[in-house]
């Protein structure tokens, strides 16, 4: 049986007064794309840096592909690839030269490094721009070549620390495509993100961390189920009616939330369809004109909010719910 690709037990790391990792436990088996999701300062980057052997935890154990990362960090580096928050690419070299250099550093022969560069350029759709200096690349192209560089060694575990932060929506979609392409080739991926839609679209599993520990883990569907029940969402034309709507919803489920800018209120309920009828009747009895009422599954934002008490960031869709 294959060892877990990642096994962390009781990981702790402290920077002065800040406890970045507070006994983090996580086991990831091979063949998964795992998104570490959490607010700024949750410990995501610290964890990735520990896995990449860039920092040494104060306590706990960490195994990568069965290798003890604290005792044999040099061997861990033989199975990982890292692409960080910054595109760590040499601007004064071409895309191809960057790839060939890192290929050589991974221990490939000159010929094998050239071949690996050709493959990766194709994979990242950068073949046409391969021989231009990276300083002429757009932000999205830089991220793609950066991702490509971490792939030249065909790692078993690829670590991506906020791979799309600061990218425009189109570049983000292109990078997502590139990352999804890797999954097919059998590279396991651990990525960190602050964006729920990114985690939802890329990952087979989501691990929510906050204050240096794992607070929830599972597939996106499992997490949505765990956050609770179905949601009833009511839209009104006139925002002045929202307090009244909220009062009605409080009798249907518990802890209703109001999203004033979007003219809506929503509440979690136990038995969806019958509660929907109750809600309609109660609203009608109060003489409230409803523009739209719906029954839906909770979004990851709501899951995140329920678990951490902090709203998550959303990327580019202003229609996403924000906790009121």
């Amino acid at each position: 049986m294959q060892p877990p690709i990642l096994e962390a037990r009781g990981l702790e790391k402290r920077y002065g007064k800040t406890q970045a990792l507070a006994g983090l436990d996580l086991v990831v088996n091979p063949g998964r794309v795992v998104a570490l999701l959490g607010p700024n300062g949750a410990g995501k980057t610290t964890f990735v840096r520990a896995v990449a052997t860039l920092l040494r935890p104060d306590a706990g154990t960490l195994h990568v592909d069965g290798i003890d990362a604290l005792r044999k960090p040099a061997r861990v580096r033989q199975v990982i690839g890292l692409a960080g928050q910054f595109a760590a690419v040499e601007e004064a070299m071409t895309g191809r030269e960057n790839l060939e250099m890192v290929g050589r550093l991974f221990g490939l022969s000159r010929k094998a490094a050239k071949a690996a560069a050709v493959t990766v350029l194709d994979q990242m759709q950068l073949t046409a721009d391969a021989d231009r200096l990276v300083r002429t690349y757009s932000g999205g192209m830089r991220r793609r070549i950066d991702l490509g560089i971490s792939l030249t060694g065909t790692p078993r575990l690829l670590l991506l620390d906020e791979p799309t932060t600061g990218l425009d929506p189109i570049s983000r979609l292109q990078l997502w495509d590139a990352i999804r392409g890797l999954v097919v080739t059998g590279t396991d991926i651990l990525l960190t993100t602050q964006y729920l839609d990114e985690a939802d679209r890329l990952a087979s599993d989501i691990v929510i961390i906050d204050h240096g520990t794992v607070i929830a883990a599972g597939t996106p569907a499992e997490l949505k189920t765990r956050a609770g029940d179905d949601m009833i969402e009511v839209h009104v034309r006139d925002a002045d009616h929202l307090p009244a709507v909220s009062a009605v919803l409080a009798t249907i489920g518990h802890d209703p939330r109001v999203d004033a800018p979007q003219h809506r209120a929503y509440v979690a309920v136990d038995e969806g369809s019958s509660r929907l009828m109750d809600a309609l009747r109660a609203l009608d009895a109060h003489g409230i004109t409803v523009e739209d009422i719906s029954l839906r599954r909770p979004t990851l934002d709501e899951v995140f909010l329920a678990l951490t008490g902090t709203p998550a960031q959303t990327t580019d869709s202003p229609g996403q719910p924000v906790g009121a």
Partner: protein, 279 residues
């Protein structure tokens, strides 16, 4: 949440092979090649450092030079140019501090540290590349020196020895700047910290005879590493007329310079390794 989160496997996944990683020498060469290419392909770096070097020389040669007496039969230009060339390695080294700080700041060092290469290769590669850049800077400085009227008064062998000594001295001082770059955290801070070497350059025998300095300053100037270095280069390159200005023999200053270089290399090389190994 209590207990460990376990993420289940997907069956039938292919496994990638291990990367053996490059050895110390090939990886150092690859890292050095990148730094040299960066320099060669960034015209701002080359042009700016060259102009800075030329301005310096012109200022001392033509603006201050008339007021500075060498106290012997050696002309000021012949006095100045060996000192100017010797201190070129310090100005060139400052670029290394900013370069290293940028690499730390922008995650390039992290990338290298996550690769299966000996971590020493990152430092050795940097040291090699910067030494190559120092040779380039020295050649330019020597060219300028001849252009403003410097003539060798000693032997060609002496001049070559002087050049070699500058390279050795530059290689040793390089590690001071690498440490500054590793510690600084960002390029601006590295540049400011690098400027702290300015007193070493000016409170030395490089541009001005130390005899003209007040007692305390003079003692400092005679003690610190740049003066024996400038004196050694001057003695080697200007023959008898230059040597007449020196208190000790040329070989005394050469020996002292090499001792300083060795001490600086050992201390700062070790500091760089310790700082780099920390994680």
């Amino acid at each position: 949440m209590t207990g460990t989160s376990v993420i289940a496997p997907s069956p039938g996944v292919p496994r990638a092979a291990l990367n053996t990683g490059a050895g110390l020498w090939p990886s150092s060469i690859a890292v050095a090649g990148r730094t040299v290419r960066k320099f060669a392909r960034t015209p701002q770096l080359i042009v700016f450092t060259t102009i800075q070097s030329a301005l310096f020389l012109l200022m001392f040669r033509y603006a201050f030079g008339g007021a500075i007496g060498t106290g012997g039969s050696l002309s000021y230009v012949s006095f100045l140019v060996p000192g100017f060339i010797a201190t070129t390695v310090l100005w060139a080294g400052m670029g290394a501090a900013t370069g290293v700080a940028e690499d730390v700041e922008q995650g390039f060092v992290d990338r290298l540290r996550s690769l299966p290469i000996p971590r020493a290769a990152v430092l050795i590669g940097r040291g090699l590349a910067d030494t190559a850049l120092i040779v380039w800077g020295l050649a330019i400085a020597a060219g300028f020196g001849f252009a403003v009227g410097f003539r060798l008064h000693g032997s060609v062998a002496g001049a070559l020895a002087a050049f070699g000594l500058c390279v050795v001295f530059g290689f040793a001082f390089e590690w001071v700047f690498i440490v500054i770059g590793l510690v600084a955290g960002n390029a601006q801070a590295a540049q400011s910290m690098g400027l702290l070497i300015t007193p070493l350059v000016f409170l030395s025998s490089a541009y001005v005879p130390v005899k003209s300095m007040p007692a305390g300053v003079r003692q400092f100037s005679e003690f610190q590493p740049v003066s024996p270095m400038a004196n050694a280069v001057r003695g080697l390159a200007t023959g008898a007329r230059g040597q007449a200005l020196l208190e000790h023999s040329t070989s005394y200053y050469v020996g002292l310079s090499l001792a300083w270089a060795a001490a600086i290399f050992v201390v700062f090389g070790l500091l760089a390794v310790l700082r780099f190994a920390r994680r």
